[in-house]
Amino acid sequence: MHGRPRQKAGPPDPERVKAAQKKAALFGQLSAEVLERRAAKRYDAESLALAGKLLELHPEVYTVWNYRREALQPVLDAGGEAAVAAVAGELALTERALHKNPKSYATWHHRRWAVAKGFCSLERELQLVGQLLEADERNFHGWGYRRFIVQLMGTPAARELEYAEHKINQNFSNYSAWHSRTALLPELHGGGGDGGEDAGAAAALSSALAAARLGAEASAAAAGTATAPAAGDAGHPAEQPSQQQPSQQQAEAQPAAQPRRPPPAGASSATAAVPKEALDEEYELVKQAFFTEPEDQSGWFYHRWLLGCSLAHWERARGTTEEAAERAALLAVLAREEQTCQELLEVEPDAKWPLLTLTRLRELERQVLRSSSSGGGKSSGSGAGASGSEAGSSGAGASGSEAGSSGAGASGSEAGSSGAGAGVGDGGSSAGGGAGLAAEIAGGYARLIELDSLRRGYYEDARDGRAHVVAKPSAAAAAQ
């Protein structure tokens, strides 16, 4: 029970008690009637109407949805006008039930089951779920259902990406929409981009698996049906191509759906697929969110993911001829993003999110600088390494924008003073810049502990090198 105010203690109002008892008795009778008819396998119109009435009142009673599916399965298998009418009935009923409870798992599943039979307009479904997400923008059932429909329709990722951007522009704190972008971007760029051969192959595998999963989902939704509707089946004139989708994808799913396949990459690890230019556009989008709603965590979580993507480009190039270029590109991104954080901190010096992000950017910077001075890269990396070790953080600034580096230094030393000396081992391999960065990082976490004491335990672990949310532990620390 969520969000229902507590009744005040004291003698209960007899009228209320009477009304509650009546409601209980009526509901008990209706349940008994429906479950008895179910047990007797009564599939007539009157019985199904009673079942529908119960579900409108109480959409989570899964057994009664099972009852309806049992009754309607033969009708849908037979196809024709009767099947079209039956699906329309289930869509109307689930719509009323979702009005009562938009988070009912059982209702959403029933709708998928009905839709997967292929006797209805997918366009209309997309429109309806769009309306639902206008009213209830974070409903994850709704977002999941939208993905289900979009995949059945074969909508290109680019179009859904536009939809996600539309939802973000409506409200920057729509975390569901940001989440959606993290799944769609790798999909969109899966086929090519500058992802390189490995990334391209991985992305192709990943989209094949996505198709297989979709097939599995559609076939799951259609469970219990002997066959998906055949092409050319009478009674669904408007949706010919879409209707065929489930059965086609089911067929495609067969070879992929073997046990013991390597696990498909989760969105969190499919990061190198998004090209750097596309990432730059995303950094720009999320920057607008920061300046509109700096306190909202949605954009900041998204930004952390973008940093992971940028980092992945550099990591993929390690030990190749592209390493120096990727390293410079990453340092430029870090400098630019540090500057954004600095700008926000100038407006609101105690803002937690820009401070946390700035601190993590410095951790990343330290990781990049360290890696070059420890000689991990090939010869081409040494030139870039020299410029890094020369000036540490200001070197990063120089490769990006001029103004950023001085700003970073200024506030960094300010923050650093409060927490300097909180021992962050920086391996001793980098020059003065590394030590400065270490102090800034320690100072950042010290300030975060003051600003956001609920998460003190996390900040302490991060400060002391026991937690790594963006930057990776140094080789020395990892070896310990």
């Binding site: 029970m1 507590r6 203690a9 704190s173 799951a220 013991r260």
Partner: protein
């Protein structure tokens, strides 16, 4: 600030509330909760165990009723008149484990039912009607562990499917591509724990996301920019506990939030202060306090959501025959 009457855990009132709720068979709630009563009984009973008051309910009567909820397929329905489903199959086994009565069921029949719901991609359907969700992956693995029949399913495939539901924030959704949610995070982390694959988790990233669920109220929410709610004391804390990061949230602040959700008059715990109480939030509030080591409460196992004592008993019993079998060829 905790309400003056709620500074302590009102153990006596909560126990009375649970017992009275389970005996009031005329209320609307009684009918409205019929389809998931097995879970309701599991929540109430486990809460009573944690409070050390399990004797308040008649165990023999409950076990007999649980067995009446089993369907011929081997799975359990939410109550006598409802269809078999993995959710209630797990609740049934958890109740039987609490009473040390798992021997009352034919273990292989139940295990076969669970195994019949695994799909080629490693996922699990909730029942024959095909709903796929990582909640069911947890139900399946947890149920099979209780039965000591994990090998009845393809555990690596089950773990791979759960891993495919991992998102950009380190959290997990109900199917691949779906948004992270703290409830789903618990089921996925616990499922991977049972499968022995915690290495598939981005531990620091996920735990940071989880500790960001704590709001200024001290309570935890289930997704970013959502309201705090007592039930997430369990969903978030259990995952943090399995992953060894309980200290990433402010436990004192969370304790105060849970205590303030108590109803000092009728007993029970609600989602937020001054809301109506229910058995679900009463259990998850008490379970959260137990995970944080509150004195006076028995400790709860974060993976199986059962008292540690119950899980240890099952582990002990398994160790003995295994040791005997290992010695056999030598002798």
């Amino acid at each position: 600030m905790v309400h003056p009457a709620r500074q302590e855990l009102l153990a006596e009132q909560h126990a009375r509330y649970i017992v009275e709720f389970s005996q009031n068979k005329d209320s609307f709630e009684y009918f409205a909760t019929e389809h998931f009563r097995l879970s309701g009984v599991y929540w109430g009973l486990t809460a009573l165990h944690l409070l050390g008051r399990q004797a308040a309910l008649d165990g023999a009567e409950i076990v007999a009723w649980v067995l009446r909820c089993q369907r011929p397929c081997g799975g359990f329905g939410g109550s006598e008149r409802h269809d078999a489903h993995l959710l209630y199959t797990l609740s049934a086994l958890q109740i039987l484990a609490l009473y040390d009565e798992l021997d009352c069921v034919d273990v292989d029949t139940v295990a076969r039912y669970v195994a019949s719901l695994q799909q080629p991609d490693g996922s699990f359907w909730g029942d024959e009607w095909g709903e796929t969700d990582t909640r069911f992956s947890y139900c399946a693995l947890s149920a099979l562990w209780l039965l000591d029949r994990l090998h009845a399913v393809d555990v690596p495939a089950a773990a791979a499917y759960v891993a495919a539901c991992k998102n950009f924030d380190g959290g997990f959704g109900c199917t691949p591509g779906n948004e992270s949610h703290a409830g789903q995070v618990f089921t996925c982390v616990a499922a991977l724990d049972i499968a022995g694959r915690l290495d598939l988790i981005d531990r620091d990233l996920l735990c940071w996301w989880l500790c960001e669920r704590q709001t200024r109220s001290g309570g935890l929410n289930g997704r970013p920019e959502k309201l705090q709610d007592v039930c997430y004391s369990w969903w978030c804390l259990s995952a943090l506990s399995i992953l060894g990061r309980l200290h990433w949230i402010d436990q004192a602040a969370l304790t105060d939030f849970i205590l303030d959700c108590q109803d000092e008059d009728g007993g029970g715990i609600s989602d937020r202060p001054e809301d109506q109480v229910d058995v679900y939030h009463t259990f998850f509030g008490i379970a959260g306090l137990s995970l944080m080591g509150r004195p006076g409460l028995a400790p709860i196992d974060p993976t199986f959501a059962l008292p540690v004592e119950v899980v240890d008993r099952l582990r002990e019993r398994r160790r003995e025959p295994v040791a005997a079998a290992a010695e056999a060829p030598v002798a």
